[in-house]
């Protein structure tokens, strides 16, 4: 029972980690929270559904194309909703604008795709049993994809020139500009990479639960955001850790306490951690209180 819930938790946690990375990278560069991130994810997943149903694409080609579309959508959200805002109280204005964008995308999807839950094309399920623990090939694939995505992200952020530019932007945008970095391009790219990972995560979770619906982004996004905060927003390893912690807590809570409150555990864990340690597990010690 415990190991079984742990396996399920790790699978969901991997997806949360991928989504949480989008929040944390944008926060690292711009110090804003991209509230529309999860709705961009949902839109991308619907595009994936469309690609399969209309063009009958194989799953992996569809996943890559849908993720590319999600990346493009993520970048346009930044250009439309965040970049033009240059008012005094920028943080508040961006927060409201992002919420507006989130509401807009969610309801647009309801208009275009319908508000009911639709089945998602999945691959044939194979079940393996080791001892008392049962797991499926889908879970294995999700974990494998997560590992590959995390490795690619690591290579981009820590081993490439673009990654150096990104890290420079996260230290200080004006100084990065002085060093000849095209900061607007880097910001766009950050949104794009985050949304690409979210697109892959969206396809993964839709395959895992075999469902896609317009409000799927809301809870998924809030839990991933909770994971990012838990790990210390802005810290990439922290977000991955936070994602797994939230996923495992949620599965264990649903298994041992009450499954009715499944969606509440992530928030409860987050509120408790924030009350004790406002900067999260791996966040920077300094917090500005304004």
């Amino acid at each position: 029972m415990f190991l079984q819930q742990l396996v399920n938790g790790i699978t969901v946690g991997a997806i949360y980690a991928m989504v949480a990375l989008g929040y944390t990278m944008v926060y690292g560069v711009l110090q804003i929270v991209n509230w529309a991130h999860a709705d961009v994810l949902m839109f991308g997943t619907f595009i994936g559904l469309l690609l399969t149903n209309v063009f009958h694409m194989p799953l992996f080609a569809m996943a890559v194309l849908a993720a590319a579309f999600t990346a493009a959508l993520g970048m346009s959200v930044e250009i439309v909703a965040y970049r033009p805002i240059k008012s005094g109280n920028r943080r508040m204005a961006v927060l409201v604008s992002a919420l507006g964008m989130s509401t807009f995308l969610q309801n647009l999807a309801q208009l275009v795709f319908g508000s009911s839950s639709q089945p998602f094309p999945t691959i044939e399920k194979v079940t393996y049993t080791i001892g008392k623990v049962t797991f499926t090939n889908i879970q294995l694939i999700i974990l494998g994809i997560t590992a590959i995505m995390l490795f690619i992200l690591y290579m981009i952020v820590y081993k490439s020139k673009i990654g150096i530019a990104m890290r420079a932007c996260s230290v200080s945008i004006p100084n990065a500009k002085l060093m000849g970095i095209n900061t607007n391009f880097i910001i766009s790219l950050t949104f794009g990479i985050g949304a690409f990972m979210a697109g892959i995560a969206g396809i993964c979770i839709a395959t895992y639960y075999n469902a896609v619906y317009p409000t799927m982004g809301y809870l998924l996004g809030m839990k991933a955001f909770a994971a990012a905060i838990l790990g210390g927003i802005g810290s990439i390893p922290g977000s991955v850790l936070g994602g797994f912690v939230i996923g495992i807590f949620e599965s264990l809570g649903a298994g041992y306490l009450s499954s009715g409150y499944r969606d509440a555990y992530a928030f409860i864990v987050m509120i408790l951690v924030l009350a004790i340690r406002p900067s999260g597990f791996m966040g920077a010690k300094h917090i500005d209180k304004v």
């Binding site: 943080r91 508040m92 507006g100 509401t103 309801q110 809030m222 909770a226 987050m270």
Partner: protein, 343 residues
């Protein structure tokens, strides 16, 4: 010259009118509001006006949290729903008068919101938004799952109408006066609060809590009070909602409701009393006016929020807090200067 220019630039407001016109305008407005049900015989129309007034009160209570104490709450529906459920359950289980139950519910919600505020005190903008959203979500899950107490997703139907001194409040007209009294009380309270030292201290904490601390203002105290007062006001409106609708359920207190209230505050203007009322009336009445476009309503809400933030982040009736004070000072100086030259 510069000073005169500043005075001329001052926006039109009730305060810029001469005192006697205010004395004429106010009674006229109050009389018009009192006489409204006699003119508006359409029950549906009256229903919309009641809803708009209710949302005005809610927007005012949320503005207290967002606009005055500067904590971007996305979980205001928690206190609204808690007020509705607590007062209903108190009336049902103890059989006490509705107004007594409402008062008890307000006290309980006040204590609760103070407790909920604790983890958010150290946090800033987006963190507060997520934590409060978390409260809202936990609350919604609680009322959906605690079937023994709240009847879960079925909700509580047939809530009896309230009675006061033997007079039973039922029918649209009675509720209209009920909500009108509430709205007037809320507005007077907010105006008095805004002009009080307490309100100004809260505004100071909102603008810059480090500067406020250095002036001897305790930011924790004011943030806490902002949260508690907003919560108590929302609880009052929650119990009004429960008796007006006659039934409550988890679907009335979901995330969308919080977003609706936030849009009203943002559209009207953070920290503006008239703005909150205007925003609530616009956003609550427009969907009814544009019934044909009801599918597009939320899409338009979302787009409007983005466009608003790009072109006018302070809202329709919003004020730029710093310049407002600057204008006030300049206007005062200008007046004195004028008096000086005249004498």
């Amino acid at each position: 010259m510069g000073k005169e220019k500043a005075v001329k630039q001052k926006k039109f407001s009730l305060n810029s009118l001469p005192a006697y016109s205010k004395m004429v305008l106010m009674p006229v407005l109050v009389l018009a509001l009192i006489a409204a049900p006699a003119v508006i015989t359409n029950k549906y129309m009256l229903h919309i006006i009641i809803l708009c007034s209710m949302y005005s009160c809610l927007a005012l209570s949320l503005n207290m949290v967002i606009g005055w104490s500067g904590q971007f709450s996305l979980g205001h529906v928690t206190f609204y729903g808690m007020g509705a459920y607590l007062s209903t359950l108190l009336v049902r289980s103890l059989g006490i008068n509705f107004f007594l139950a409402t008062l008890t519910a307000m006290v309980i919600v006040g204590i609760f919101s103070a407790l909920l505020c604790m983890p958010t005190l150290k946090l800033r903008g987006d963190y507060i938004a997520l934590v409060t959203l978390g409260f809202g979500e936990v609350f919604r899950l609680f009322i959906s799952n605690a079937v023994a107490i709240t009847r879960g997703p079925m909700g509580i139907p047939n809530i009896p109408p309230p009675s006061i001194f033997g007079f039973e409040i039922s029918g649209k007209t009675a509720y209209y006066y009920f909500v009108l009294i509430l709205l007037i009380c809320f507005t007077i309270f907010m105006v008095r609060f805004d002009n009080s030292g307490f309100g100004m201290s809260m505004m100071a904490v909102n603008e810059d809590d480090i500067a406020a601390t250095s002036l001897g203002i305790n930011p924790v105290k004011f943030k806490l009070w902002g949260f508690v007062m907003g919560g108590v006001m929302a609880a009052l409106m929650g119990s009004f909602y429960s008796v007006y609708m006659g039934m409550i359920g988890p679907s009335s207190f979901d995330y969308g409701e919080s977003i609706k209230m936030v849009s009203m505050v943002v559209l009207g203007g953070q920290g503006s009393i008239a703005g909150s009322i205007l925003g609530a009336f616009l956003l609550a009445a427009l969907p009814e006016a544009l019934r044909a476009f009801s599918d597009y309503r939320m899409v338009i809400y979302g787009a409007a929020m983005v466009i608003m933030m790009i072109f006018r982040p302070e809202g329709i009736y919003g004020r730029n807090k710093r310049t407002r004070n600057l204008y006030k000072i300049k206007a005062m100086r200008g007046e004195k200067h004028g008096e000086g030259t005249a004498g």
